[in-house]
């Protein structure tokens, strides 16, 4: 493999969850449909969308916590979906995950020292009993006092616990960290600390991030490229600046308009207000957004648009009909 190859490549990933609906019927929820993207070394790829859009399922599919129905997950060109655990284990240290709820993702009965040492000993990164220097280094890296290692997770605030989770993810020198809503549960002052920490660590270590979030400001701040998901599909993807400056898909435009701004001068601005909420099972061939879309016409019910280029710079949108976009009111 050449060094220019992406760290992570995801192709045509799909996943449907089946639920019992009545005695014999089963209801399917197409959580992820035909999702694809790549992440280069040292890059942050953000996935943004509202609840139920499938963004967390993508994270779990990449980590191998769920098995995809179709599609491929390639880590440095090697397929990792469907690998037996025995063959996946040697690769595990190279991609790590940080969850939203730092409280439940740390073992409350272990001291921070043991939480950090555990994975390193298990994967043979350090010899048993020889983790001390590395633990000190990790705590320094995430901005926690070295004295923290003798304490238990519940003794820390939410922001500090998230720092412990980040230190644990970093302990194995990963090339990719998957961050599933890492700042959503934090207060805004602490959220800024964690976002800055993640950016500093990336500049220093060259690690790649897959950053999942619903706060558009946070996703924009951390990501180089962003995909917007709606009802299981990527509806638009572009470089971060480009996406926010020239959103193309009607959903992206409405989503950006809906984010409250702290800028007093933007108060009362004209915005797209979507009607209704996401609904339906997404089983037909039409565009999943058409029920709420101000630009939808009869053709949108017959077939959904493909993800196609807007310009040459990798800006793709799944809407050919929006034109200049919906009216703002």
């Amino acid at each position: 493999m050449t060094s220019a190859s992406p760290v992570l490549e995801v192709r045509h990933l799909s996943k449907t969850f089946w639920e019992k609906d009545g005695l014999l019927r089963r209801a399917g929820n197409r959580a992820v449909q035909d999702v694809g993207f790549t992440i280069a070394a040292g890059e942050t790829f953000g996935i943004v969308g509202e609840s139920g859009c499938g963004k967390s399922t993508v994270a779990r599919l990449v980590m191998g916590l769920e098995k995809p129905d179709a599609g491929e997950v390639l880590f440095h060109g090697q397929r990792i979906d469907g690998l037996p655990e025995r063959r996946l284990r040697p690769l595990r240290p190279r991609f790590q995950m940080v969850f939203q709820d730092s409280g439940s993702s740390l073992n409350g009965r272990k001291r921070v020292r043991d939480i950090l040492a555990g994975p390193m000993i298990w994967h043979g990164v350090v010899p048993r009993g020889g983790a001390q220097a590395r633990i000190d280094e990790l705590l320094d890296m995430v901005g926690l006092p070295r004295g923290a290692q003798a304490r238990y997770p519940h003794e820390f605030s939410g922001g500090q616990r998230q720092r412990i989770c980040i230190a644990r993810a970093l302990s194995l020198n990963p090339e990719l960290i998957i961050l599933d809503e890492p700042v959503s549960a934090l207060d805004v002052s602490v959220q800024a600390q964690i976002l800055n920490l993640l950016r500093d660590l990336q500049a220093r270590l060259g690690v790649s991030y897959l950053f999942i979030g619903h706060g558009l400001g946070a996703v924009r701040y951390i990501s180089h490229r962003i995909a917007v998901m709606y009802r299981g599909r990527i509806v638009e993807t572009a470089a971060s600046e480009e996406l926010f400056a020239h959103p193309a898909h009607p959903y992206t435009r409405a989503l950006l308009d809906a984010v409250p701004s702290t800028d007093w001068n933007r108060r009362g601005r004209a915005r797209i207000v979507l009607r209704g909420e996401a609904y339906g099972s997404g089983w037909d061939d039409g565009c999943a957004f058409r029920g709420r879309c101000p630009c939808a016409d009869a053709a949108c019910a017959r077939a959904a648009c493909e993800l196609s280029p807007i310009d040459g710079d990798g800006h793709l949108s799944r809407c050919a009909r929006a034109g200049d976009g919906p009216e703002r009111s």
Binding site: E50, Q160, V188, S189, A192, L195, A258, P260, S261, D263
Partner: protein, 325 residues
């Protein structure tokens, strides 16, 4: 004009172990008729318990240990349960963040909504149902007749919050307390709900006390703002003045810590070092001092100052102009 409700030097304590812990300390502000007042702060700053105390909803563990809440010349804290019941849900009503648990799962929307109307307005079932239909239509729950027959679990989050709003509006309240009404909702639904609340305020002239942690919502909704930190009001003022010229170091820092969708990505977010003190209850002096960049000049002095009419700031340096605007 008289304020609709006036909170004066409110102290609220919670029982913890054998002692009492003071979670709101000398909170004072007024809500004027027809205005949207935003109470903003991070988690644990005391904004929700302040709102709950207005309606006597603190529960067994919470006690108001000082101050008064004046409404129409009466102190709400001194009323009996019976007297309070005549005001709650009729003149002052409330909607909550937790839309899952704020509606009773075993009753239909119709029975929960008509109960409120019949209880307070003393009308018969027919009239109550007509009023309920009208309310559901106004809050955007269409078709209203079908929604009436539904149970809460058959509605989405946004629809449940609309049903809550319909219930809160049932008796034409003069004050609606909205405690983080959209925190559990998606941002496109949040926009719908906020536009609805604003339109309802414009139509009915009721005042709204909006409790939130989101400064973006404050900038879009508020006529006036109260910023709380560690159980105290640290800054109060007209929304435009407070947001364009924040005086308290905490207000300023909070505004700079929000990652916007319009700011340049290369601008580094300003973060506030440390975290909200957990045991602020017996702190003396300025509670923000440990995180404040100016604490070396002020010596932790934290009295309330009034730099201009209608503005109050709990920071002497901000008032003295030492902290450049």
């Amino acid at each position: 004009m008289e304020p609709l409700i006036e909170i004066r030097n409110l102290d609220i304590s919670f029982r913890q172990g054998s002692g009492l812990v003071k979670c709101a300390d000398g909170v004072s502000f007024s809500v004027w008729p027809g205005e949207i007042l935003c109470l903003v702060g991070e988690s644990g700053c005391g904004k929700s318990i302040t709102a709950l105390s207005i309606l006597g909803l603190l529960g067994r563990q919470g006690h108001v240990t000082g101050g008064e809440i004046l409404y129409g010349g009466r102190n709400l804290l001194a009323l009996s349960q019976r007297e309070l019941d005549a005001i709650r849900g009729r003149e002052i009503s409330m909607i909550f963040q937790d839309i899952m648990y704020s509606l009773n799962p075993v009753f239909t929307i119709s029975s929960q909504l008509t109960e409120v109307i019949r209880r307070h307005l003393r009308c018969d079932r027919k009239q109550a149902e007509a009023r309920a239909l009208q309310l559901l239509g106004r809050t955007g729950l269409e078709p209203a007749a079908a929604v009436m027959r539904r149970y809460p679990h058959q509605l989405s989050g946004g629809m449940r919050q609309r049903a809550m709003i319909a219930m809160a509006l049932a008796c034409g309240p003069r004050l609606l307390i909205a405690d983080e009404p959209t925190t559990a909702l998606d941002v496109t639904i949040q926009l719908q709900i906020m536009q609805l609340l604003r339109a309802l305020r414009d139509e009915t002239g009721m005042a709204i006390l909006l409790i939130t942690h989101d400064l973006g919502l404050v900038a879009e909704m508020a006529d006036r703002v109260v910023v709380m930190y560690a159980g105290q009001c640290v800054e109060t003022g007209d929304a435009c003045r407070l947001l364009t010229a924040p005086a308290h170091p905490y207000t300023r820092a909070l505004l700079q810590a929000v990652p916007g969708t319009d700011a340049a990505r290369d601008r580094r977010l300003l973060s506030i070092p440390g975290a909200v003190p957990e045991h602020y209850h017996d702190m003396t002096g300025c509670r923000f001092a440990a995180r404040c960049p100016h604490s070396d000049v002020c010596g932790g002095n934290a009295h309330l100052f009034e730099p201009e009419p209608g503005r109050s700031v709990r920071c002497c340096e901000a008032v003295a102009g030492v902290i450049a605007p």
